[in-house]
Amino acid sequence: MTAWTWPNITDRPVNWLNAQLRRLPVWALYAAGGAWPAILLYMGATGGLGVEPITALEHELGKSALNLLVFGLAITPLRRFFGLNLMRFRRAIGVIAFAYVGFHLLVWLVLDVQSPALIWADIVKRPYVTVGMAGFLLLSPLAATSNNWSVRRLGAAAWRRLHRLVYPAVLVAALHFMILVKGFPVEPLIYLAVIVVLLLLRLDRRAVAWRAGGLPRPR
């Protein structure tokens, strides 16, 4: 009797998982990502989001976007530390996250604030709105260049440099969450902590590479 082994294409569970993930088409992610706001909107219209659906919809979309941004940041560390390869899905995750940010902004403009005069007043006067808009602006060029044509056009190095804007953008998103709540609830602090750790993991690698002489000194 021979001991059970992983199927022969693999020697580790994570490789088996990677093989399964290769079968998942990227369009499935876009389909699921597109369905979620539609489900939320339906729930909001039929009482599924409680008695105050406007704020609930706004918050659900905002938090879904933040979750995806954090997930996007986790993809590189997941590969580096666990060998889990989700690189194929990273663009879709980023694009869906940006779409959620857009819907979040749209719900705020159309259903929540309602008046164009108040919209501008809020952007200028309310720090959490100003910060939220800054996050949206930081993410916009990334969404616009999330296609193969832009990668070719910009060149891989410049494209990568541009897309490092996601680091400040995610920090800004966490800050946006933190400064709009009342009191000291723990949830925004957890988001901020996770994001800081995910960003530090990157700094760490660049610093180590620099000390080993492998990379130019980070500026």
Binding site: V51, E52, P53, D122, I179, K182
Partner: protein, 303 residues
């Protein structure tokens, strides 16, 4: 001292329990047909100051009671763990008859009334609630307010084993609030023990909570266990958290914004996804009754 204030609408004008249940069923039926979104805007056209009470479901599932969690649904989810019997309220400080007043005894001595009040949350949403309760002045007189008392301090129950929110340091616990004595003795200020003629649910502050309709909702402290008469202004929870954002007075005032958001408008709960905002009224629509309390005061400074 009871019955010093009469509702703009009488009890007969309040939607009876059976009628709003029917309305909800109609709305639920429309929602089932996918027409909820179409029906909602009609319901959202209520004028400012409208006094049609919100439904039982709206009043009892959308609550800020951080002792049970910060989500609006947390109080309804967790407050059933709260033991409200036996219950007593300690009334002390500058009173003639200090002591622990048993809730049942208080109920025997007080005159119950229905008060249909607007409730304006500092977060810029509002409701109309048909409270049942008694005037706070009557309770204070039961204990006998001494000359020289100028303020009333209130304290909420602090029982972490039944109130999961108390395990997080969201605010400094227990929750405390305060009023000037003349505000506390005002005919509009009540202690509520019921809603729609039924016993007040735990998530709304059972068995007894303050209601001060011209102030932001957080002044109306819930599940009160202590009332102290003093000659100095007592600390209040949100003011202690941020005095810039939350003043001692906290009168509803559309002209004085919260530093982080506008207070000029509010959203009445129950209007659905396409609810229109309505202008917020000075002193939440009770200007005629209470403006004199603040004669000559700078309401922006003493916000």
């Amino acid at each position: 001292m009871a019955h010093r204030w009469i509702n703009d609408l009488t009890a007969e004008d309040a939607t009876p329990f059976s009628a709003y249940m029917n309305r909800r069923q109609i709305m639920a039926g429309l929602a089932g047909l996918g027409l909820g979104a179409i029906a909602a805007p009609a319901a959202a056209l209520a004028p400012a100051g409208d006094l049609t009470p919100n439904s039982w479901e709206e009043i009892t599932t959308y609550n800020n009671f951080y002792e049970f969690g910060t989500d609006k649904g947390d109080p309804a989810r967790y407050a059933d763990q709260l033991t409200t019997s036996p219950w007593s309220v300690t009334i002390d400080g500058m009173v003639d008859r200090p002591g622990a007043y048993d809730f049942a005894t208080i109920m025997d001595r007080m005159t119950m009334e229905e008060r249909i009040y607007r409730l304006r949350c500092v977060e810029a949403w509002s409701m109309v609630v048909p409270w049942n309760g008694f005037e706070l002045a009557d309770l204070l007189n039961l204990a006998g307010v001494q000359d020289g008392a100028r303020f009333v301090a209130f304290e909420t129950l602090n029982r972490p084993e039944e109130m999961p929110g108390l395990r997080s340091p969201i605010l400094q616990w227990p929750y405390v609030e305060g009023l000037r004595l003349d505000e506390a003795m005002h005919p509009l200020t009540i202690m509520a023990t019921g809603i729609y003629g039924k016993t007040i649910p735990n998530q709304n502050g059972a068995p007894m909570r303050l209601v001060v309709p011209w102030k932001y909702g957080y002044k109306s402290i819930k599940s009160v266990v202590r009332i102290t008469l003093t000659d100095t202004q007592p600390p209040t929870s949100w003011n202690r958290y941020s005095s810039r954002e939350y003043g001692f007075y906290s009168n509803v005032n559309p002209n004085v914004d919260h530093p982080r958001w506008s207070q000029a408008q509010e959203r009445r709960i129950g209007g659905g996804l396409f609810s229109r905002k309505q202008p917020t009224l000075m002193f939440n629509g009770y200007e005629e009754e209470v403006a004199a309390l603040y004669d000559g005061m700078d309401l922006a400074e003493y916000h």
